[in-house]
Amino acid sequence: MSQQEEWKDVVPIPQDDGKNPVCPIAYTDEYREMTDYFRAVMASGEVSQRALKLSGRVIDANAAHYTAWVYRKKLVLDLGVDISEELAWVAEISGRHIKNYQLWHHREALLELLLDPKQVALEPQDQRMRNPDIRRELQFIDRVIDQDSKNFHAWSHRQWVVRAYGLWDQEMAFVDTQINQDVRNNSAWNQRYFALTRNQAADAFVLTKEAADAEIAYVIDKIKLAPNNESPWSYILGLLLRHAPAMLYEDLLPSINALASDKNGALAVVSTPFYWSALVDIYEKQAEVLDAEQRDAVKGLAREACESLAEQYDPVRAKYWKYRKQELTAQ
């Protein structure tokens, strides 16, 4: 850059490392030079096409350079950069930086500029889904999740898009596709809860009997595929404990008991710790509503399940199961 006519007027600012720095990075000459010039650009507050280009180079070399992202956003605004072009640029570099925080945050800020969530919310939902900018964003997320099915940032960003633009109606279909691809993808199971509850606060969401029945049926179906899969167990227990505890023993228990006595798959079900663990949670909840005599019997069943877990099915968690057993005794 020091040789380029374009940058002749800028005096680069070297990194202030001191005399004998700890953990100095052996930067490549290229990286050192571009960040020295970039520091100078930021220090003078320069707003220009060359500054925009330089910020892009710095970001692509070190996508965690949050200051460069912040400055780039300012440049995008001040220069009136076409937001769609900027989104395309982010998509272009994203393949190299999919574990990065800043990239997703930048996209969210850009989307808000492009499409005011408050305006979009006034449109009917099917119209929103046809909006080319929203479609493009969902396709972008799809591509990342295709490459890396549990990418934490992509799933979080998807939640942001769904929340911001109220795209609730279609979300369950996306979740289904993902769960069908990998029934163990817990990010997809988490998204199922998000979609079902429309991310309402835990105490505000009302789970109807019909919806809960449908979720139990869905989960049982997935448990049949692979009983030793923590995700569906964790999901249904979490959901019912929070929103319909009585359905644990009234509806879920008969369903899993049927699985455990089914002649084709019982062995796989009763040898997974998640089955026994579910029994502990269910019986413990059931005991709360029973009279003294029945309560003791049900608690006894729960304690037996804890013992089976500690000794046979889940010895690595023996300490935890002892604790649960102790709690069942003390209550």
Partner: protein
């Protein structure tokens, strides 16, 4: 402590029920590589009875790790430009790892670290990730903890305490959370970094903490763990952040602790012994701290006594760290076999090792009930301590490392010195509500 010898058994491997998916394929690959390692520790004569693992041979390669850290202090390769905006972390990872290992940190190194960090302090308060960059909450967190480890009044005085407070307040949002930097992202990490920094510097105020505990509680998912933001999947790293911040605030009761305990205990993997960070994800040495450090805090939140023990298998975790996470060739510790060692995993594996060797806790009868007074903050902080009666060191006796604080992740002595200095200064408010 269990007296039953640990049995090496493929029965503990993940059963995919003959339904293969991406998750189970990756899981099987990791178990293969770990099984190869654990098999080396099985006494061949015991194979007929299932194979008893001989844990007496595990050795912490202290001098190799020390060398790895000193090599990093000398210089890092160009690939580390990816961490060019996380510079305070280098100092923290190195000093803390050395301290936990019990290595000497000489005066010259202390001054060099202090010089480095002072140059990263922003004139408007807070510490920056790199030269000429904006102040950042994670960078500030790492810088303050590194200064705790540097120790001494000159180091303490280098911190612009009131600048820090003003800057932290400028990162605060109406929902109780904080943005990581100007115009930055928002998540539970931010709350944790702020609570650690503010409690250490004695700059907690009702304005600073308002709504933060409630924000964290909203991040607890139906699975029981804590995610970064309401709605997002529960994750080991954010769980430690949320739980530790709530402990500082004296508000762990806002969580559904039973579900949290269930989810946390499910993170330990039966065959590997280490922790994963999310349901159906792979083991990673760094969760030895993110989860291993959360257990003592959970213990306190549930008011469980020392004699009841932690709710995870301490020996299995130590076996994973010692047998699978040490890079024997380069020194340093790592995520899992096949990965390279780095400073991040070195520190977090060592923290996990320490927290599983030493039982650290606060007995239920000693817990402070008035958590609203600012003066309770240092009392509650320094109540934590290692209880020798529950020491469990797997392998050679020389494997024992220093006890660390589960919330602040540093050894106790430098922490106590730091707190003593800053709590001799007048607080900004006496009550936090």
């Amino acid at each position: 402590m269990s007296t039953i010898p640990p049995v090496f058994s493929y029965d503990y491997r993940y059963d995919d029920n003959e339904c293969e998916t991406e998750t189970s394929t990756k899981q099987a690959e990791v178990e293969d590589s770990i099984g190869d390692i654990y098999l080396n520790y099985v006494d061949p004569s015991s194979l007929a009875q299932g194979g008893v693992i001989d844990d007496s041979k595990h050795k912490l390669l202290r001098s190799r790790h020390e060398q790895f850290i000193h090599d990093s202090i000398k210089g890092l390769s160009s690939g580390f430009a990816a961490l060019d905006s996380s510079q305070p972390w280098f100092s923290f990872w190195c000093l803390n790892s050395l301290d936990i290992l019990g290595c000497e940190i000489n005066q010259q190194l202390r001054s060099r670290v202090l010089d480095r960090l002072s140059r990263l302090q922003s004139p408007s308060g807070g510490f920056c990730g790199g030269s000429g960059q904006l102040p950042h909450l994670a960078g500030s967190y790492a810088a303050i903890l590194a200064i705790v480890l540097v120790g001494g009044e000159a180091a303490y005085q280098a911190i612009d305490r009131m600048g820090m407070y003003a800057w932290l307040m400028s990162m605060k949002r109406a929902d109780g959370a904080f943005t990581m930097h100007l115009d930055g992202e928002v998540d539970v990490r931010g709350v944790y970094c702020v609570m650690v920094v503010a409690s250490l510097l004695n700059i907690m105020t009702p304005e600073l903490v308002k709504g933060s505990a409630e924000f964290i509680a909203r991040c607890q998912t139906c699975e029981g763990g804590i995610g970064p933001y309401p709605g997002v999947e529960a994750h080991g790293g954010y769980t430690l952040c949320g739980l530790a911040a709530l402990d500082i605030l004296g508000k762990t009761d806002l969580l559904r602790l039973n579900r949290l305990a269930r989810w946390m205990s499910a993170r330990q993997l039966a065959f590997e012994g280490g922790f994963n960070g999310r349901t159906n994800k792979l083991v990673d040495g760094c969760y030895s701290y993110w989860m291993g450090g959360a257990f003592p805090i959970l213990q306190k939140a549930l008011r469980r006594a020392r004699c009841e023990g932690y709710m995870y298998d301490r020996a299995a975790l130590q076996r994973y760290v010692l047998a699978c996470c040490q890079d024997r060739r380069t020194g340093g510790l790592r995520d899992k076999p096949g990965k390279s060692a780095d400073l991040y995993h070195t520190m977090y594996c060592l923290l996990g090792l320490s927290l599983s060797q030493h039982y650290v806790g606060v007995e239920p009868s000693e817990q402070v009930s008035d958590t609203a007074s600012v003066y309770s903050v240092p009392v509650r902080m320094m109540q934590w301590g290692a209880m020798p009666a529950s020491l469990l060191v797997l392998g050679m006796r020389s494997n024992m490392v220093k006890p660390v604080h589960p919330v602040y992740s540093v050894p106790y002595t430098p922490l106590a010195n730091f707190v003593k200095y800053f709590y001799a200064l007048p607080p900004l408010a006496e009550q936090l509500v």
